[in-house]
Symmetry: C2
Subunit: 166 residues, 2 copies
């Protein structure tokens, strides 16, 4: 199945009414143990998050930082699929390794100059298929221009937090 | 169990050698279906990502965007737990709802002025417990200053992508 039908369907819906371009992504979670978090996503999937025992957790699920990198890696893979179909670029296999550098002084407040987030993230993709190198490089440029989580991390995303009691 | 022991352990390790502050977060994933992604995290957890049927996927797992928001929500919850113990602030229940606004024109290349990532993200926390409001507000400030994924999204994160053939 080609995903060009998805591109065409989205394009037609947005052409009919630009309001159709607006989407909302939602997740609900609660602290269900010392650090274990249970949650459900808008598409109905359950997500369990925890910390490893070395950090006092129960290791019942991947960590928040691992999920963030898994979001990035999978967003890259899926955007490769979408844009490969769009650009008529064939491939057989695609895999990714994502690695993030953390300095825990930021998280634990040991040095106010150290940021709590990733100091750097490396995304290493491996693709195989019948196309010449230049076409896969064209695909990489298209993906990095259109991948939502790549953009959300690489550029500042406006976030508001609100705390209610009760 | 109080997580102050974790703070103390990390603090002592970093005081002994600042190199102990460096950590690496890792995830490996591959495209295992049209858009279905299978992966494993550094702490040994399997993560399945997919797209809903409305976007041509099989809905076998949450989407990359949902996982990104789940990473943010759970990172907030866990950082609340850590810093509540650090600051001596008691609470009974803590839950979060995270919502992200997306304009799909960015992802599908329908308008180069529209970013592919989230236009805005709202994090709505609800806490209950015996402390006065001011203490929970103090906790919120400490969390938002030290939460890794909040920082990674709110501020620009350096990311490199590399594509290899074969």
């Amino acid at each position: 199945m080609s995903l060009n039908a998805v591109f065409e369907g989205v394009g037609a819906a947005v052409a009919a009414d630009v309001g159709n371009a607006k989407a909302s992504v939602q997740v609900s979670q609660e602290l269900a143990g010392l650090m274990e978090c249970h949650g459900t996503t808008g598409t109905g999937h359950r997500v369990v998050v925890d910390e490893p025992q070395s950090l006092g957790g129960g290791n019942k699920g991947a960590t928040p930082l691992e999920y963030a990198l898994a979001a990035l890696g999978s967003c890259q893979l899926i955007t490769y699929r979408l844009w490969a179909d769009r650009l008529g670029i064939r491939f057989d296999k695609l895999a990714v390794e994502v690695e993030g550098d953390l300095d825990v002084r930021g998280v634990f407040g040991l040095d106010p100059k150290v940021r709590p987030g990733f100091g750097a993230v490396r995304v290493k993709l491996r693709i195989s298929g019948p196309e010449p190198r230049a076409r896969y490089e064209e695909l990489q440029r298209a993906v990095d221009a259109h991948c939502p989580i790549f953009d959300a991390l690489r550029n500042a995303t406006p976030i508001q937090t609100e705390l209610k009691l009760g």
